[in-house]
Amino acid sequence: MAEAVQTTRNQSSKTPIGARLRYYLPTILVAVGVLLVWELAVRVLNIQQFLLPKPSAILEAFVNEIRLFVTPGEGSILFQAAGATLWAAFGGFCLGCGAGVLVALITARWTIISEAAMPFAIAANSVPIIAFAPIMNNWFGTTNPASKMAIVAIIVFFPTMINTVRGLTLIDPRQLELMQSYAARPVKILLALRIPNALPYIFSALRVASALSVIGAVVAEFFGGQRAMLGVFITQEAASFNFVRAWTGIIMASIIGLSFYFVMLLLERWLMPWHVAFRNTD
Protein backbone atom coordinates (compact mmCIF):
# COMPACT_ATOMS: atom_id res chain seq x y z
CA MET A 1 0.00 0.00 0.00
CA ALA A 2 2.59 2.55 -1.04
CA GLU A 3 0.01 4.80 -2.64
CA ALA A 4 0.08 8.39 -1.54
CA VAL A 5 -2.92 9.99 0.09
CA GLN A 6 -3.53 13.53 -0.97
CA THR A 7 -3.47 16.27 1.60
CA THR A 8 -6.70 16.75 3.45
CA ARG A 9 -8.86 19.83 3.34
CA ASN A 10 -7.97 20.68 6.93
CA GLN A 11 -4.75 22.14 5.71
CA SER A 12 -6.12 25.60 4.99
CA SER A 13 -7.08 26.11 8.64
CA LYS A 14 -3.51 25.31 9.67
CA THR A 15 -1.88 27.92 7.44
CA PRO A 16 0.06 30.43 9.55
CA ILE A 17 -1.48 33.89 9.88
CA GLY A 18 1.47 35.44 8.06
CA ALA A 19 0.85 33.36 4.93
CA ARG A 20 -2.85 34.18 4.99
CA LEU A 21 -2.09 37.86 5.33
CA ARG A 22 0.28 37.65 2.38
CA TYR A 23 -2.54 36.04 0.38
CA TYR A 24 -4.97 38.89 1.08
CA LEU A 25 -2.36 41.66 1.03
CA PRO A 26 -2.78 42.62 -2.67
CA THR A 27 -6.56 42.93 -2.22
CA ILE A 28 -6.15 45.11 0.86
CA LEU A 29 -3.52 47.27 -0.87
CA VAL A 30 -5.80 47.84 -3.87
CA ALA A 31 -8.73 48.83 -1.62
CA VAL A 32 -6.61 51.25 0.43
CA GLY A 33 -5.06 52.62 -2.78
CA VAL A 34 -8.42 53.32 -4.39
CA LEU A 35 -9.68 55.11 -1.27
CA LEU A 36 -6.49 57.21 -1.07
CA VAL A 37 -6.68 58.21 -4.73
CA TRP A 38 -10.35 59.07 -4.28
CA GLU A 39 -9.67 61.21 -1.21
CA LEU A 40 -6.69 62.97 -2.83
CA ALA A 41 -8.53 63.53 -6.11
CA VAL A 42 -11.48 65.16 -4.37
CA ARG A 43 -9.16 67.41 -2.32
CA VAL A 44 -6.64 68.30 -5.06
CA LEU A 45 -9.14 68.72 -7.93
CA ASN A 46 -11.54 70.46 -5.57
CA ILE A 47 -14.46 68.27 -6.72
CA GLN A 48 -17.87 69.53 -5.57
CA GLN A 49 -19.49 67.59 -2.77
CA PHE A 50 -22.65 66.88 -4.79
CA LEU A 51 -20.55 65.20 -7.48
CA LEU A 52 -18.37 63.06 -5.23
CA PRO A 53 -17.94 63.43 -1.47
CA LYS A 54 -14.64 62.57 0.23
CA PRO A 55 -14.45 59.02 1.59
CA SER A 56 -13.41 60.50 4.93
CA ALA A 57 -16.64 62.53 5.04
CA ILE A 58 -18.72 59.46 4.18
CA LEU A 59 -16.93 57.45 6.85
CA GLU A 60 -17.52 60.19 9.40
CA ALA A 61 -21.24 60.30 8.58
CA PHE A 62 -21.43 56.51 8.74
CA VAL A 63 -19.70 56.37 12.12
CA ASN A 64 -22.12 59.04 13.33
CA GLU A 65 -25.06 56.83 12.26
CA ILE A 66 -23.56 53.91 14.16
CA ARG A 67 -23.24 56.12 17.23
CA LEU A 68 -26.89 57.19 16.92
CA PHE A 69 -27.91 53.58 16.44
CA VAL A 70 -26.21 52.35 19.62
CA THR A 71 -27.17 55.33 21.81
CA PRO A 72 -30.32 54.60 23.83
CA GLY A 73 -33.11 57.05 23.15
CA GLU A 74 -31.62 58.05 19.81
CA GLY A 75 -32.27 56.27 16.52
CA SER A 76 -30.66 55.90 13.12
CA ILE A 77 -32.91 56.12 10.09
CA LEU A 78 -30.06 54.56 8.11
CA PHE A 79 -30.02 51.43 10.26
CA GLN A 80 -33.80 51.31 10.28
CA ALA A 81 -33.73 51.49 6.48
CA ALA A 82 -31.04 48.81 6.37
CA GLY A 83 -33.23 46.54 8.47
CA ALA A 84 -36.22 47.02 6.17
CA THR A 85 -34.19 46.43 3.02
CA LEU A 86 -32.51 43.39 4.52
CA TRP A 87 -35.93 42.02 5.42
CA ALA A 88 -37.24 42.58 1.88
CA ALA A 89 -34.11 41.04 0.34
CA PHE A 90 -33.95 38.09 2.71
CA GLY A 91 -37.70 37.40 2.61
CA GLY A 92 -37.75 37.59 -1.17
CA PHE A 93 -34.63 35.43 -1.35
CA CYS A 94 -36.18 32.71 0.80
CA LEU A 95 -39.50 32.75 -1.06
CA GLY A 96 -37.98 32.91 -4.54
CA CYS A 97 -35.19 30.38 -4.00
CA GLY A 98 -37.47 28.06 -2.06
CA ALA A 99 -40.03 28.15 -4.85
CA GLY A 100 -37.28 27.75 -7.45
CA VAL A 101 -35.92 24.59 -5.86
CA LEU A 102 -39.41 23.22 -5.30
CA VAL A 103 -40.55 23.81 -8.88
CA ALA A 104 -37.27 22.32 -10.14
CA LEU A 105 -37.87 19.16 -8.08
CA ILE A 106 -41.36 18.85 -9.56
CA THR A 107 -40.24 19.45 -13.13
CA ALA A 108 -37.31 17.06 -12.78
CA ARG A 109 -39.74 14.37 -11.64
CA TRP A 110 -42.03 14.88 -14.63
CA THR A 111 -39.76 15.59 -17.57
CA ILE A 112 -42.69 16.75 -19.71
CA ILE A 113 -43.23 19.73 -17.41
CA SER A 114 -39.53 20.46 -17.44
CA GLU A 115 -39.37 20.40 -21.24
CA ALA A 116 -42.37 22.72 -21.44
CA ALA A 117 -41.27 25.08 -18.68
CA MET A 118 -37.54 25.40 -19.27
CA PRO A 119 -37.67 27.61 -22.40
CA PHE A 120 -39.97 30.00 -20.55
CA ALA A 121 -37.74 30.00 -17.51
CA ILE A 122 -34.63 30.70 -19.58
CA ALA A 123 -36.44 33.47 -21.47
CA ALA A 124 -37.80 34.95 -18.23
CA ASN A 125 -34.30 34.86 -16.78
CA SER A 126 -33.11 37.21 -19.53
CA VAL A 127 -35.92 39.71 -18.94
CA PRO A 128 -35.24 42.75 -16.68
CA ILE A 129 -37.76 41.70 -14.07
CA ILE A 130 -37.07 44.87 -12.08
CA ALA A 131 -39.21 46.62 -14.72
CA PHE A 132 -42.22 45.02 -13.03
CA ALA A 133 -41.53 46.94 -9.81
CA PRO A 134 -44.20 49.62 -10.47
CA ILE A 135 -46.71 46.85 -11.20
CA MET A 136 -45.87 45.16 -7.92
CA ASN A 137 -46.34 48.52 -6.18
CA ASN A 138 -49.85 48.58 -7.67
CA TRP A 139 -50.58 45.01 -6.66
CA PHE A 140 -49.32 45.07 -3.09
CA GLY A 141 -49.25 48.80 -2.32
CA THR A 142 -46.18 51.03 -2.59
CA THR A 143 -45.55 51.22 1.14
CA ASN A 144 -46.17 47.51 1.70
CA PRO A 145 -42.83 45.66 2.07
CA ALA A 146 -44.47 42.73 0.25
CA SER A 147 -44.20 44.64 -3.04
CA LYS A 148 -40.36 44.67 -2.73
CA MET A 149 -40.26 41.11 -1.50
CA ALA A 150 -42.32 39.99 -4.48
CA ILE A 151 -39.92 41.59 -6.96
CA VAL A 152 -36.92 40.02 -5.23
CA ALA A 153 -38.65 36.64 -5.17
CA ILE A 154 -39.37 36.76 -8.89
CA ILE A 155 -35.82 37.89 -9.71
CA VAL A 156 -34.16 35.06 -7.78
CA PHE A 157 -36.71 32.41 -8.73
CA PHE A 158 -35.58 31.86 -12.31
CA PRO A 159 -31.81 31.39 -11.91
CA THR A 160 -32.45 29.11 -8.94
CA MET A 161 -34.97 27.01 -10.78
CA ILE A 162 -32.89 26.72 -13.96
CA ASN A 163 -29.71 25.76 -12.12
CA THR A 164 -31.50 23.26 -9.92
CA VAL A 165 -33.13 21.55 -12.90
CA ARG A 166 -29.68 21.31 -14.50
CA GLY A 167 -28.15 19.84 -11.37
CA LEU A 168 -30.94 17.28 -11.02
CA THR A 169 -30.76 16.14 -14.63
CA LEU A 170 -27.12 16.51 -15.73
CA ILE A 171 -25.84 13.31 -14.17
CA ASP A 172 -23.03 11.01 -15.23
CA PRO A 173 -24.88 8.11 -16.96
CA ARG A 174 -22.62 5.61 -15.12
CA GLN A 175 -23.83 6.92 -11.78
CA LEU A 176 -27.41 6.36 -12.89
CA GLU A 177 -26.56 2.88 -14.18
CA LEU A 178 -25.04 2.06 -10.83
CA MET A 179 -28.35 2.94 -9.16
CA GLN A 180 -30.17 0.88 -11.79
CA SER A 181 -27.95 -2.11 -11.12
CA TYR A 182 -29.04 -1.95 -7.48
CA ALA A 183 -32.67 -1.73 -8.64
CA ALA A 184 -32.96 1.48 -6.60
CA ARG A 185 -36.34 3.19 -6.40
CA PRO A 186 -36.79 6.65 -7.96
CA VAL A 187 -37.13 8.25 -4.51
CA LYS A 188 -33.78 6.81 -3.45
CA ILE A 189 -32.17 7.95 -6.72
CA LEU A 190 -33.52 11.44 -6.05
CA LEU A 191 -32.27 11.58 -2.47
CA ALA A 192 -28.96 9.77 -2.83
CA LEU A 193 -27.91 10.90 -6.30
CA ARG A 194 -29.91 13.68 -7.94
CA ILE A 195 -30.10 16.10 -5.01
CA PRO A 196 -26.44 15.77 -3.91
CA ASN A 197 -25.47 16.10 -7.57
CA ALA A 198 -27.56 19.29 -7.78
CA LEU A 199 -26.10 20.89 -4.63
CA PRO A 200 -23.15 22.62 -6.34
CA TYR A 201 -25.54 23.96 -9.00
CA ILE A 202 -28.01 25.13 -6.36
CA PHE A 203 -25.33 26.88 -4.34
CA SER A 204 -23.90 28.63 -7.35
CA ALA A 205 -27.45 29.89 -8.01
CA LEU A 206 -27.89 30.92 -4.37
CA ARG A 207 -24.68 32.93 -4.46
CA VAL A 208 -25.90 34.80 -7.53
CA ALA A 209 -29.36 35.14 -5.96
CA SER A 210 -27.95 36.55 -2.72
CA ALA A 211 -26.38 39.44 -4.65
CA LEU A 212 -29.43 39.83 -6.91
CA SER A 213 -31.80 39.96 -3.94
CA VAL A 214 -30.14 43.05 -2.42
CA ILE A 215 -29.87 44.76 -5.81
CA GLY A 216 -33.52 43.90 -6.49
CA ALA A 217 -34.71 45.20 -3.14
CA VAL A 218 -32.82 48.52 -3.37
CA VAL A 219 -33.81 49.18 -6.98
CA ALA A 220 -37.44 48.23 -6.28
CA GLU A 221 -37.38 50.77 -3.45
CA PHE A 222 -36.24 53.46 -5.91
CA PHE A 223 -39.76 53.21 -7.32
CA GLY A 224 -41.17 54.31 -3.99
CA GLY A 225 -41.88 52.96 -0.54
CA GLN A 226 -41.69 53.79 3.15
CA ARG A 227 -39.09 56.35 4.23
CA ALA A 228 -37.06 53.77 6.13
CA MET A 229 -35.87 51.70 3.17
CA LEU A 230 -32.40 52.00 1.69
CA GLY A 231 -33.60 52.70 -1.86
CA VAL A 232 -35.99 55.37 -0.66
CA PHE A 233 -33.38 56.75 1.74
CA ILE A 234 -30.79 57.09 -1.03
CA THR A 235 -33.15 58.77 -3.50
CA GLN A 236 -34.57 61.16 -0.89
CA GLU A 237 -31.18 62.17 0.53
CA ALA A 238 -29.82 62.70 -2.97
CA ALA A 239 -32.89 64.74 -3.95
CA SER A 240 -32.36 67.00 -0.94
CA PHE A 241 -28.62 67.45 -1.72
CA ASN A 242 -27.47 65.40 1.31
CA PHE A 243 -24.97 63.53 -0.83
CA VAL A 244 -22.82 62.34 2.03
CA ARG A 245 -25.89 60.75 3.61
CA ALA A 246 -26.93 59.27 0.27
CA TRP A 247 -23.48 57.69 0.10
CA THR A 248 -23.86 56.16 3.57
CA GLY A 249 -26.97 54.47 2.18
CA ILE A 250 -24.95 53.12 -0.74
CA ILE A 251 -22.22 51.87 1.61
CA MET A 252 -24.86 50.20 3.78
CA ALA A 253 -26.44 48.47 0.76
CA SER A 254 -22.97 47.24 -0.26
CA ILE A 255 -22.28 45.89 3.22
CA ILE A 256 -25.59 44.00 3.20
CA GLY A 257 -24.95 42.60 -0.27
CA LEU A 258 -21.42 41.45 0.55
CA SER A 259 -22.39 39.93 3.91
CA PHE A 260 -25.22 38.02 2.31
CA TYR A 261 -22.89 36.69 -0.34
CA PHE A 262 -20.29 35.60 2.22
CA VAL A 263 -22.90 33.86 4.35
CA MET A 264 -23.86 31.83 1.26
CA LEU A 265 -20.22 31.05 0.57
CA LEU A 266 -19.64 29.84 4.13
CA LEU A 267 -22.81 27.75 4.04
CA GLU A 268 -21.63 26.18 0.81
CA ARG A 269 -18.23 25.29 2.26
CA TRP A 270 -19.80 23.91 5.36
CA LEU A 271 -22.33 21.74 3.50
CA MET A 272 -20.07 20.56 0.68
CA PRO A 273 -16.54 20.06 2.01
CA TRP A 274 -16.11 17.40 -0.69
CA HIS A 275 -16.69 19.82 -3.53
CA VAL A 276 -13.86 20.32 -5.99
CA ALA A 277 -13.70 24.07 -5.40
CA PHE A 278 -12.81 23.62 -1.73
CA ARG A 279 -10.28 20.82 -1.99
CA ASN A 280 -6.81 21.62 -0.93
CA THR A 281 -4.61 19.67 -3.30
CA ASP A 282 -1.42 21.58 -3.82
Binding site: Q175, L178, S181
Partner: protein, 266 residues
Amino acid sequence: MTNGTTHAPVIYARNVNKIFKPSGAEPVIALQNINLTVQPGEFISLIGPSGCGKSTLLRLIGDLITPTTGELKVNNKEPHQARLDRDYGMVFQAATLYDWRTVSKNVQLPLEIMGYTPQERKARAQQMLELVELGKFGNHYPYQLSGGMQQRVAIARALAFEPSLLLMDEPFGALDEFTRERMNMELLSIWERTKITVMFVTHSIPEAVFLSNRVVVMSPRPGRITQVVDINLPYPRNFETREDPLFFQKVIEVREYLREAHEVEG
Protein backbone atom coordinates in the same frame (compact mmCIF):
# COMPACT_ATOMS: atom_id res chain seq x y z
CA MET B 1 -12.74 -23.96 -11.29
CA THR B 2 -15.59 -25.70 -13.11
CA ASN B 3 -16.81 -28.39 -10.77
CA GLY B 4 -19.13 -30.89 -12.36
CA THR B 5 -21.95 -30.42 -9.85
CA THR B 6 -25.57 -29.92 -10.77
CA HIS B 7 -25.64 -26.15 -10.17
CA ALA B 8 -27.64 -24.14 -12.66
CA PRO B 9 -25.32 -22.01 -14.77
CA VAL B 10 -24.85 -18.44 -13.59
CA ILE B 11 -25.07 -17.22 -17.15
CA TYR B 12 -26.83 -19.02 -19.95
CA ALA B 13 -26.96 -17.37 -23.39
CA ARG B 14 -28.43 -19.02 -26.49
CA ASN B 15 -28.47 -17.31 -29.90
CA VAL B 16 -28.47 -13.87 -28.32
CA ASN B 17 -28.58 -10.97 -30.78
CA LYS B 18 -28.48 -7.28 -30.07
CA ILE B 19 -29.24 -4.77 -32.80
CA PHE B 20 -29.03 -1.05 -32.11
CA LYS B 21 -31.32 1.09 -34.28
CA PRO B 22 -30.15 4.65 -33.98
CA SER B 23 -32.71 7.09 -35.38
CA GLY B 24 -31.75 8.29 -38.84
CA ALA B 25 -28.88 5.78 -39.22
CA GLU B 26 -28.36 2.20 -40.35
CA PRO B 27 -29.07 -0.46 -37.69
CA VAL B 28 -25.90 -1.79 -36.06
CA ILE B 29 -25.57 -5.48 -35.23
CA ALA B 30 -23.77 -5.16 -31.90
CA LEU B 31 -23.93 -8.84 -31.03
CA GLN B 32 -24.66 -11.80 -33.28
CA ASN B 33 -25.52 -15.31 -32.24
CA ILE B 34 -23.93 -15.30 -28.80
CA ASN B 35 -23.78 -18.69 -27.09
CA LEU B 36 -22.15 -18.88 -23.69
CA THR B 37 -22.62 -20.84 -20.49
CA VAL B 38 -20.85 -19.80 -17.32
CA GLN B 39 -20.78 -22.08 -14.27
CA PRO B 40 -20.73 -20.87 -10.66
CA GLY B 41 -17.29 -19.83 -9.48
CA GLU B 42 -15.82 -19.31 -12.93
CA PHE B 43 -13.62 -16.36 -13.83
CA ILE B 44 -14.43 -15.46 -17.42
CA SER B 45 -12.75 -12.71 -19.41
CA LEU B 46 -14.25 -11.14 -22.51
CA ILE B 47 -11.55 -9.83 -24.82
CA GLY B 48 -11.58 -8.21 -28.22
CA PRO B 49 -10.96 -4.96 -30.04
CA SER B 50 -13.16 -1.90 -29.57
CA GLY B 51 -16.60 -2.35 -31.05
CA CYS B 52 -16.68 -6.14 -30.66
CA GLY B 53 -19.61 -5.88 -28.26
CA LYS B 54 -17.91 -7.15 -25.11
CA SER B 55 -19.25 -4.28 -23.01
CA THR B 56 -22.64 -4.68 -24.69
CA LEU B 57 -22.70 -8.35 -23.68
CA LEU B 58 -21.85 -7.38 -20.10
CA ARG B 59 -24.61 -4.78 -20.10
CA LEU B 60 -27.10 -7.32 -21.46
CA ILE B 61 -26.25 -9.68 -18.61
CA GLY B 62 -26.59 -6.74 -16.20
CA ASP B 63 -30.01 -5.81 -17.66
CA LEU B 64 -28.87 -2.28 -18.40
CA ILE B 65 -30.02 -3.07 -21.95
CA THR B 66 -32.16 -5.92 -23.30
CA PRO B 67 -31.41 -8.46 -26.07
CA THR B 68 -33.17 -8.04 -29.42
CA THR B 69 -33.62 -11.78 -29.83
CA GLY B 70 -32.40 -14.97 -28.16
CA GLU B 71 -32.48 -16.49 -24.73
CA LEU B 72 -30.51 -15.05 -21.83
CA LYS B 73 -30.71 -16.32 -18.26
CA VAL B 74 -28.86 -15.18 -15.15
CA ASN B 75 -29.05 -17.64 -12.26
CA ASN B 76 -31.84 -19.36 -14.21
CA LYS B 77 -33.90 -16.13 -14.25
CA GLU B 78 -34.59 -13.34 -16.68
CA PRO B 79 -31.83 -10.74 -16.33
CA HIS B 80 -34.46 -8.23 -15.24
CA GLN B 81 -35.53 -10.46 -12.36
CA ALA B 82 -31.89 -11.11 -11.49
CA ARG B 83 -31.34 -7.35 -11.30
CA LEU B 84 -34.37 -6.91 -9.06
CA ASP B 85 -33.02 -9.75 -6.90
CA ARG B 86 -29.67 -7.94 -6.73
CA ASP B 87 -27.82 -10.94 -8.09
CA TYR B 88 -24.82 -9.00 -9.32
CA GLY B 89 -22.46 -6.19 -8.51
CA MET B 90 -21.04 -3.98 -11.20
CA VAL B 91 -17.63 -2.30 -11.47
CA PHE B 92 -17.05 0.18 -14.29
CA GLN B 93 -13.85 1.53 -15.81
CA ALA B 94 -14.28 4.69 -13.76
CA ALA B 95 -14.68 4.03 -10.05
CA THR B 96 -18.00 5.95 -10.14
CA LEU B 97 -17.88 6.78 -6.46
CA TYR B 98 -20.16 9.49 -5.17
CA ASP B 99 -17.97 12.52 -4.33
CA TRP B 100 -20.22 13.61 -1.48
CA ARG B 101 -19.98 10.35 0.40
CA THR B 102 -17.05 9.13 2.44
CA VAL B 103 -15.42 5.89 1.35
CA SER B 104 -17.36 3.94 3.96
CA LYS B 105 -20.65 5.62 2.98
CA ASN B 106 -19.97 4.77 -0.66
CA VAL B 107 -19.59 1.09 0.20
CA GLN B 108 -22.77 1.33 2.27
CA LEU B 109 -24.81 2.74 -0.62
CA PRO B 110 -26.12 -0.57 -2.01
CA LEU B 111 -26.74 -1.77 1.55
CA GLU B 112 -28.85 1.33 2.23
CA ILE B 113 -30.90 0.64 -0.87
CA MET B 114 -31.34 -2.98 0.13
CA GLY B 115 -32.56 -2.09 3.61
CA TYR B 116 -29.73 -3.25 5.88
CA THR B 117 -29.74 -1.71 9.36
CA PRO B 118 -27.18 1.05 10.05
CA GLN B 119 -25.15 -1.25 12.30
CA GLU B 120 -25.06 -3.98 9.67
CA ARG B 121 -24.09 -1.44 7.02
CA LYS B 122 -21.20 -0.03 9.00
CA ALA B 123 -19.85 -3.41 10.01
CA ARG B 124 -20.12 -4.84 6.52
CA ALA B 125 -18.56 -1.78 4.87
CA GLN B 126 -15.62 -2.04 7.26
CA GLN B 127 -15.29 -5.74 6.52
CA MET B 128 -15.33 -5.10 2.76
CA LEU B 129 -12.82 -2.26 3.03
CA GLU B 130 -10.50 -4.56 4.95
CA LEU B 131 -10.93 -7.13 2.19
CA VAL B 132 -9.56 -4.61 -0.32
CA GLU B 133 -6.96 -3.44 2.24
CA LEU B 134 -8.48 -0.01 2.77
CA GLY B 135 -9.67 -0.60 6.32
CA LYS B 136 -8.18 2.68 7.55
CA PHE B 137 -9.70 4.84 4.82
CA GLY B 138 -13.41 4.63 5.65
CA ASN B 139 -13.65 8.28 6.68
CA HIS B 140 -11.76 9.67 3.69
CA TYR B 141 -13.49 11.26 0.75
CA PRO B 142 -12.92 9.65 -2.67
CA TYR B 143 -10.87 12.58 -3.96
CA GLN B 144 -8.33 11.92 -1.22
CA LEU B 145 -7.54 8.48 -2.68
CA SER B 146 -5.45 7.49 -5.69
CA GLY B 147 -7.08 5.96 -8.78
CA GLY B 148 -6.16 2.42 -7.76
CA MET B 149 -7.53 2.91 -4.26
CA GLN B 150 -10.78 4.36 -5.67
CA GLN B 151 -11.19 1.33 -7.88
CA ARG B 152 -10.69 -0.94 -4.86
CA VAL B 153 -13.48 0.98 -3.10
CA ALA B 154 -15.69 0.33 -6.14
CA ILE B 155 -14.91 -3.39 -5.85
CA ALA B 156 -15.67 -3.34 -2.11
CA ARG B 157 -18.98 -1.64 -2.91
CA ALA B 158 -19.85 -4.24 -5.57
CA LEU B 159 -19.09 -7.09 -3.17
CA ALA B 160 -20.77 -5.56 -0.11
CA PHE B 161 -24.15 -7.21 -0.63
CA GLU B 162 -22.64 -10.59 -1.51
CA PRO B 163 -23.89 -10.89 -5.07
CA SER B 164 -23.34 -14.22 -6.79
CA LEU B 165 -21.97 -12.53 -9.90
CA LEU B 166 -19.46 -9.72 -10.36
CA LEU B 167 -19.63 -7.83 -13.68
CA MET B 168 -16.47 -5.84 -14.37
CA ASP B 169 -16.15 -3.54 -17.38
CA GLU B 170 -12.43 -2.78 -17.89
CA PRO B 171 -12.08 -2.00 -14.20
CA PHE B 172 -8.30 -1.53 -14.33
CA GLY B 173 -8.14 0.06 -17.78
CA ALA B 174 -7.27 3.49 -16.43
CA LEU B 175 -4.49 2.28 -14.11
CA ASP B 176 -0.78 2.10 -14.77
CA GLU B 177 0.76 -1.30 -15.50
CA PHE B 178 2.30 -1.73 -12.05
CA THR B 179 -0.90 -0.90 -10.17
CA ARG B 180 -2.90 -3.01 -12.58
CA GLU B 181 -0.79 -6.13 -11.93
CA ARG B 182 -1.16 -5.70 -8.20
CA MET B 183 -4.91 -5.15 -8.56
CA ASN B 184 -5.06 -8.37 -10.59
CA MET B 185 -3.48 -10.26 -7.71
CA GLU B 186 -5.86 -8.71 -5.21
CA LEU B 187 -8.89 -9.44 -7.36
CA LEU B 188 -7.85 -13.11 -7.66
CA SER B 189 -7.36 -13.40 -3.92
CA ILE B 190 -10.83 -11.87 -3.32
CA TRP B 191 -12.30 -14.22 -5.92
CA GLU B 192 -10.70 -17.24 -4.27
CA ARG B 193 -11.98 -16.22 -0.85
CA THR B 194 -15.54 -15.33 -1.90
CA LYS B 195 -16.13 -18.01 -4.57
CA ILE B 196 -17.95 -15.38 -6.61
CA THR B 197 -18.44 -15.74 -10.37
CA VAL B 198 -16.67 -13.01 -12.34
CA MET B 199 -17.32 -11.67 -15.86
CA PHE B 200 -14.39 -9.45 -16.72
CA VAL B 201 -14.13 -7.23 -19.81
CA THR B 202 -10.61 -6.21 -20.80
CA HIS B 203 -8.39 -5.03 -23.65
CA SER B 204 -5.30 -6.63 -22.18
CA ILE B 205 -4.36 -10.15 -23.25
CA PRO B 206 -1.94 -10.84 -20.35
CA GLU B 207 -4.53 -9.60 -17.90
CA ALA B 208 -7.22 -11.87 -19.34
CA VAL B 209 -4.93 -14.92 -19.34
CA PHE B 210 -3.58 -14.26 -15.86
CA LEU B 211 -7.00 -13.89 -14.26
CA SER B 212 -9.33 -16.24 -16.06
CA ASN B 213 -10.07 -19.92 -16.21
CA ARG B 214 -11.63 -19.22 -19.64
CA VAL B 215 -11.01 -16.39 -22.06
CA VAL B 216 -13.79 -15.53 -24.50
CA VAL B 217 -12.34 -14.04 -27.69
CA MET B 218 -14.67 -11.70 -29.59
CA SER B 219 -14.48 -9.93 -32.94
CA PRO B 220 -16.24 -6.85 -34.27
CA ARG B 221 -18.76 -5.98 -37.00
CA PRO B 222 -20.85 -7.88 -36.16
CA GLY B 223 -19.81 -8.58 -32.56
CA ARG B 224 -19.52 -12.32 -32.03
CA ILE B 225 -17.64 -14.95 -30.04
CA THR B 226 -14.93 -16.48 -32.22
CA GLN B 227 -13.14 -18.66 -29.69
CA VAL B 228 -13.19 -19.73 -26.06
CA VAL B 229 -9.74 -20.52 -24.66
CA ASP B 230 -9.35 -22.67 -21.55
CA ILE B 231 -6.55 -21.37 -19.35
CA ASN B 232 -5.49 -24.47 -17.45
CA LEU B 233 -2.95 -22.72 -15.25
CA PRO B 234 -3.38 -23.76 -11.61
CA TYR B 235 -4.77 -21.40 -8.96
CA PRO B 236 -3.68 -19.68 -6.77
CA ARG B 237 -1.77 -17.71 -9.35
CA ASN B 238 1.03 -15.36 -8.43
CA PHE B 239 3.92 -13.41 -9.90
CA GLU B 240 5.58 -16.65 -10.95
CA THR B 241 2.55 -17.51 -13.04
CA ARG B 242 3.45 -14.62 -15.31
CA GLU B 243 6.79 -16.32 -16.02
CA ASP B 244 5.34 -19.80 -16.59
CA PRO B 245 5.91 -21.06 -20.18
CA LEU B 246 2.25 -22.13 -20.26
CA PHE B 247 1.25 -18.53 -19.46
CA PHE B 248 3.22 -17.28 -22.49
CA GLN B 249 1.79 -20.05 -24.62
CA LYS B 250 -1.75 -19.02 -23.67
CA VAL B 251 -1.04 -15.35 -24.27
CA ILE B 252 0.23 -16.23 -27.76
CA GLU B 253 -2.78 -18.48 -28.38
CA VAL B 254 -5.25 -15.73 -27.47
CA ARG B 255 -3.31 -13.21 -29.55
CA GLU B 256 -3.43 -15.56 -32.55
CA TYR B 257 -7.19 -15.97 -32.22
CA LEU B 258 -7.64 -12.23 -31.97
CA ARG B 259 -5.57 -11.74 -35.13
CA GLU B 260 -7.45 -14.45 -37.00
CA ALA B 261 -10.72 -12.81 -36.08
CA HIS B 262 -9.34 -9.55 -37.36
CA GLU B 263 -8.19 -11.12 -40.65
CA VAL B 264 -11.55 -12.78 -41.25
CA GLU B 265 -13.06 -9.38 -40.96
CA GLY B 266 -10.57 -8.12 -43.56
